[in-house]
């Protein structure tokens, strides 16, 4: 029982991080109808920037404080992500408007390649460290209720909390702020949005920046867990089933989906894995999503499509 709970929590915490990345996908898809395969590359790029700046800045400016270094690095990284967003809009999106999804998807793959290359040639391709003072040692809880107690990773806990906070933040941003509403308007109908004078290009820059922000936070969390290194760009692959499970256009979907996938794959790996020889979680997540789609083709919270002729 105790172990089952550990697995469950483990799954929930990972799931929270998945939703964080998934939200990046959803934001961009909602606003620009682009399925952004570059999200992973953005995570890597942001994390690299963060890691390297926090390492370089003290040397350049000659100060010690780790906190200051991290704060400055974070800001700088964020600036870079905004720049990236702006460039993407200028050089790619604005020229690719109203093309079918598949070419857009390919374009983002191109962008992903570009960012991977750029990031690594700017910041190097070794394995780097992000130290935001995440607690590493695990903690024991409920020793009274379960023999051996319940082992929780503090790091995951903190990470999950941050992720959750950010997710809520973004949700609020979309529901409450005027920009958020504008974004939603664009998402619902491009022409209409333009006709009431919402400049599409600016909206896109904003959305991609917000996605960049999500990527940065995700990058920092994963980065301090795994170390910042090329492979970071692959975590996005793990968020894809989340996106289709939750529905491409729904933020709540991304959250619920993330948790479901996180728990699903961990439980499957632990309790099914041994029977099948292990290593099943990656495809299990996808199959889970696939089976679900067969029942609800538009995902958990996606809108239903009716063919009109």
């Amino acid at each position: 029982m105790g172990f089952f709970l550990e697995t469950l929590f483990g799954g929930l915490m990972v799931g929270m991080l998945y939703s964080l990345i998934a939200i990046g996908f959803v934001l961009i898809y909602k606003a620009s109808g682009v399925f952004n395969f570059a999200q992973g590359a953005m995570v890597l790029f942001a994390a690299l920037a963060m890691a390297r700046f926090s390492e370089w800045l003290p040397a350049w400016l000659g100060f010690e404080s780790l906190v200051l270094a991290n704060v400055l690095a974070f800001l700088l990284a964020m600036v870079m992500m905004i720049a990236v967003a702006w460039l993407i809009e200028r050089l790619a999106l604005s020229k690719l408007v109203n093309q079918e999804g598949i070419s857009l998807l390919m374009a983002t793959l191109g962008i992903a390649y570009f960012l991977d290359g750029l990031g690594q040639s700017l910041f190097g391709n070794d394995i780097y460290k992000i130290d935001v003072g995440m607690p590493k040692e695990p903690m024991m809880v409920l020793e009274s209720t379960f023999q051996g107690g319940l082992l929780l990773s503090r790091e995951d806990l903190v990470a999950a909390v941050i992720a959750a906070a950010l997710v809520v933040l973004l949700a609020l941003f979309f529901q409450k702020t005027s920009t958020g509403r504008a974004l939603r308007a664009v998402a619902d109908d491009h022409q209409a949005a333009q006709s009431i004078g919402i400049p599409l290009s600016r909206i896109w820059v904003i959305v991609w920046s917000v996605a960049g922000f999500a990527a940065l936070v995700a990058g920092i969390i994963w980065g301090s867990k795994l170390g910042v290194q090329f492979s970071l760009s692959l975590v996005a692959l793990k968020a894809l089933p989340v996106v289709i499970l939750g529905g491409l256009t729904s933020i709540p979907g991304a959250i619920i989906g993330g948790l479901l996938i996180g728990v699903g794959e961990k439980l499957s790996e632990i309790y099914l894995g041994p029977m099948l020889g292990g290593g099943i979680e990656i495809w299990f997540a996808y199959v889970l999503a696939l089976v679900f789609l067969l029942v609800r083709p538009q995902g958990l919270f996606g809108e239903k499509i009716i063919d009109r002729v």
């Binding site: 394995i127 460290k129 040692e137 082992l151 492979s231 632990i270 041994p274």
Partner: protein, 442 residues
Amino acid sequence: MKLKSLALTVVLGAGTLGAAFAPSLAQAQAKEQFFPLLVYRTGPYAPNGTPWANGKQDYIKLVNATGGINGVKISYEECETGYATDKGVECYERLKDKGATLIDPQATGITFALTDKAPVDKIPLITVGYGLSASQDGNAFKWNFPLMGSYWTAADILIQHIAKKEGGVDKLKGKKITLVYHDSPFGKEPIPMLQERAKMNGFELALIPVTAPGIEQKSAWLQVRQQRPDYVLLWGWGVMNSTALKEAVATGYPREKMYGVWWAGAEPDVKDVGMNAKGYNALALNTSGTQPKVIQDILKNVHDKGQGTGPRDEVGSVLYTRGVIIQMLGVEAVRRAQERFGKGKVMTGEQVRWGLENLALDQKKLDALGFAGVMRPISTSCQDHMGSSWARIETWDGAKWNVGTDWYEADEQIIKPMVKAAGEKYANEKKLNRRDAGDCQS
């Protein structure tokens, strides 16, 4: 339309350029021993691949700076494989036409792919401490040289060490040992050996695969926590190792009970885990640090001259040093070959192969080369393409690797028959007839 025609030209340009230039590259340099360098400085495995590659290149530079091999200078060209088999093959094909005489594929997968091509092209493969374990059998694998150790010897030695810690092989009975491995040919190689050992010594072997590249290991380590094994063997490469250590920390598995293969015992694996990895052990094929004479020479003759391949502070790190050793073995093979086929001549692939097969590096030679204390003597033969299987255990103290004192050697009784059987199987599959004594002389 302008853009379109531009696009068109780009395509045509690419095509024609490729056509025009690629062949012209395909000429061997005269009077120089050509070593192609398959490396990966990008992708998930770059942090480990890079120092290795730099070590190889720096040693070549050192040899050239000090008069080459009896006057024969070494020319080289790097090719990025990204640890991907097909790119590795592409590199091999490209560089072999430039007169490649020795190849270190730097990846087990690529080694597998090249094992069938090497005999055709007559290019020896040197796979120090990796590759196809069975290829130790020189009778079946004429062109493979898993010098200094294979994954089978590695696994065997780890078990020996654990037995020793437990106070005798008999103590292994009933123990639980879990292998956490990179889900690829590399990670799977040791399994047959471990199963053999498990049968023999009566310990319980559990296998936990980690999907490459190994960034998501939460469930793997939850399983470890569930099974509570007495020891965990870590068969990882690249980012998988550091991630494994971090998850071990997060699930509270004692690092002292973790033993990595010699590809999981370098700085990149523990660097950003730091103190948390304290007590973690791994196999050591070689020492690290800048004390050895050869490293000093490299610093003096290469880096001080501003010709260092990588950053200076990486010189002497575990994988860098291994790169140096690998390149040294190649160079010595050429030197050995020259003794037979003519000093100061450029050796062909076949001649280098003979050199590799007749390596005899005793302590004296090693000292002379500046490898005193870095590694143990090695001597190969027609039957044994490994030469020696000496290795030690090193432990991370939170800041640096401390190499233990006692040397281990794989247990012939176990290795020999397995290698032989595997060799037979391979020879039969490939319908090759095994080499006779006469062939060994050639």
